[in-house]
Amino acid sequence: MKRDRGLALVILCVLLLSVSGCWSRRETQQMNLSTALGFDRVMINDKEQWHLSVLSSKPQGGGGTSGGSSSVISEPKKGLTVQVTTVSGETLWDATRNWNLRASRRLFLGQVLLVVIGEDTARAGIQQILDYLLRHQDIRGRIWVIVCQGSASDFLNAQPEFEPTISQEIEGIIRDTWYRSGKVIGIDLFKTTYALLTPGKEIVLPYMQLFVPPEPSSPISSNAGGTNGSNTGDTGPQGKSFTISGSAIFRGDRMVGHLNDEETQGLSFLSNNFHSGTIPLSMQSVQKNASLRIGGSKTKVMVGFDQGTPSISVTIKAQGDFLEEDDSVFHVTTQDFKAAEMAANREIESRCRKALTKSQTLNADILGFGDKIHRSYPQEWTGLKDHWNDAYPDLQVSIKADCKIKQTGVISDPITIK
């Protein structure tokens, strides 16, 4: 017994040495906390190269300001400065390690929230980028993937308007407030991969643009002139902010087209992903003069077969509140409710139809109808799967919306002009 205790003591002492963790330790002051990555494929001296842009946060002043273990958005801190570094390499890992040719810290990707892919790169194919991200042991499947107009390295230099960093702001738009407009289709790294792997399903990613804030008081547009005095005519990306404008559609791993806001809303309806948002209506007028705020929607996709040819029927059930009108076109009567519902149905159907038509002209089954047929009718799918991309444009799809108006806001009848 005594001998055992002695032995245990010796083992404990030896094990204690390993606890301190001096082996390949990483001190925080040697690490670089990056929250967003940007990928561009560029030609440099007739050689194809990758540009990797890293958005890193630099805690200033007293240490220990950046230790959050979860991705909860922290309060804007005055001391937090953000920096973008763009490095190039022949492959992505080459670029990753080339980062250390100009940086004295270790690149740490465990806190990455966002991946930005430049449009030209997306059109050339994103398979290599996805592979790089999925293979990396620090990157998680929950990070957001977006496509931006222009190059990703420029995009990351844009200024956020409401949060300390661009990655936090975009994460806020995609994760927390996307459903308010119904015009954002957020998709994470895993879901992107899933759409790439699954036959009969194509990738849709949010598409973002830069813009110069038109407001004269905006600190961003004035900031550009101040810090970079040489360039006053055309402001650089650091004088711009960013916005989501629709979504990018892919065929395979290549971007083939772009959906605008309206079409993205239609796509949200069709893919049963519309939780809330506003539909402008036109009642007794050519102009849009009323609004319906959708509070909830459910989409059913049914597959039918007519002599081996599939056809799809989509029914959308939505409900919402009537919230805005002009010229007293809407009163609290059954007829007006019916009329508004009809107008809403027409509008929803037309938006869905626009999204569908675009995807069919681009041969990209972004709605996953092929996948749906595969899951429900595996036997019929065996005959379809080899030429699904060619058959998709001719797929017959019927779209039917059924919208119910529940409330009218805080007032009932319109405020008529006396």
Binding site: S69, S70, V72, Q137, R142, L197, R375
Partner: protein
């Protein structure tokens, strides 16, 4: 009997369950999804359970004939001295061989995902050292340690499954049985021999203090491990779909990384590491113990403890020479191990049982 330890039937159930679950939850989803596609969970539920039940029937009825001796001890009595010693020797070598794969699996997972700069040899040695200590203390120590670890292991695994189950997309299980039953059976091959590792009951049987409850413990393990591993595979396929699952190296780890509850509860992969290390130490302990006992009885030694260290060292050396890379491990697990394991777990004990019945050796309980 070289080890004077005594274990209860519940401890035996936990020990046997740990032998499958400790390593299977990390590797099996990928291997099964590759072969069986969306039907991987059926593979684990039906064919694997049938195979494991066969192993239980054969091994327990063989062990019942010699309730106070281990397999390698009574072999010469059943089949004659020279063939007996030969089979005993082969069984010992096989035990050492499969243990070496476990040592490699254990270290590779930690190295790929967490300690990328630590040499794999250090990780192997640390894991093996703890297991060697446990094995040399005897089966009772391992069993009691496992009695504490296994419920925590099971709780962590169910917690992980519960936290990620909101992401399950039931469409991922359709179409069911698209290509018939053959892929399901193919997908069952590796997990079957994984659960068939319960054949080490041939060496654990003598320590059981209530021999009446032997079938309860063994079939209990087949069911318990069956339900848990089916849940793990079903959750992984349900969340990721079979196509992505088939491409993952450590599917359960990726699953744990994907957990996000309300944006707050995230990065739970450390649970996986804790489960992995805790489970692996028990599993290695059992196998080091079993392999040393097998070696000692084959060589007619009076003390098995002096063999534990050399056995562990041999497993590390074999592991590093033959299973140094991921492709070697996976090729072994999916192409060689099913046939190899089938022979070791079912064919040899079955043959020995048949000879014992024909030559009327041992105690005949059935009559």
């Amino acid at each position: 009997m070289l080890d004077k330890g005594r274990i209860s039937s519940l401890q035996l159930l936990f020990l046997l369950s740990m032998t499958e679950l400790a390593t299977a939850f990390l590797y099996v989803p990928t291997i099964t999804a590759k072969a069986a596609g969306p039907d991987g969970w059926i593979s684990l539920l039906v064919p694997v359970t049938v195979y494991a039940s066969l192993v239980v029937l054969v091994c327990v009825s063989l062990a019942r004939r010699y309730p106070f001796q281990v397999f390698t001890e009574y072999l010469p009595d059943v089949v004659g001295t020279i063939p007996g010693k030969l089979i005993a020797g082969i069984s010992t070598l096989v035990l050492i061989h499969i243990t070496s794969v476990m040592v490699v699996e254990g270290a590779q997972f930690i190295q790929t995902n967490f300690l990328t700069e630590t040499p794999v040899l250090v990780l192997q040695s640390v894991l093996a050292l703890v297991a060697v200590y446990g094995a040399s203390m005897g089966i009772e120590v391992i069993a009691r340690h496992n009695e504490m670890v296994f419920p925590i292991f099971l709780l962590s695994l169910t917690t992980l499954i519960l936290l990620v189950c909101k992401d399950i997309n039931l469409n991922n299980f359709r179409p069911m049985l698209e290509n018939g039953v053959v892929p399901v059976l193919k997908g069952a091959m590796t997990p079957a021999v994984w659960r068939g590792e319960l054949y080490i009951i041939l060496w654990l049987y003598p320590y059981l203090n209530q021999k009446k409850e032997d079938y309860q413990a063994a079939f209990g393990m087949v069911l318990l491990a069956g339900i848990v591993s089916t849940l793990v595979v079903a959750t992984t396929i349900g969340v990721f779909g079979d196509l992505y699952t088939a491409r993952l190296v450590y599917a359960a780890n990726t699953l744990a990384r994907y957990i996000s509850v309300a944006g707050i509860l995230e990065r739970l992969e450390l649970f996986i590491v804790i489960m992995w290390v805790a489970g692996l130490i028990v599993k290695l302990g059992i196998f080091f113990h079993t392999a040393s006992i097998a070696a000692a009885t084959t060589l007619n030694l009076k003390n098995y403890r002096i063999l534990v260290g050399p056995v562990a060292l041999t497993t590390i050396i074999i592991g590093n020479i033959f299973y140094g890379s991921y492709v070697q491990v996976v090729e072994f697990l999916s192409k060689v191990w099913p046939y190899y394991g089938g022979i070791i777990q079912l064919a040899i004990p079955g043959l020995v049982l048949l000879i014992a019945v024909l030559r009327k050796k041992g105690i005949n309980n059935e009559a």
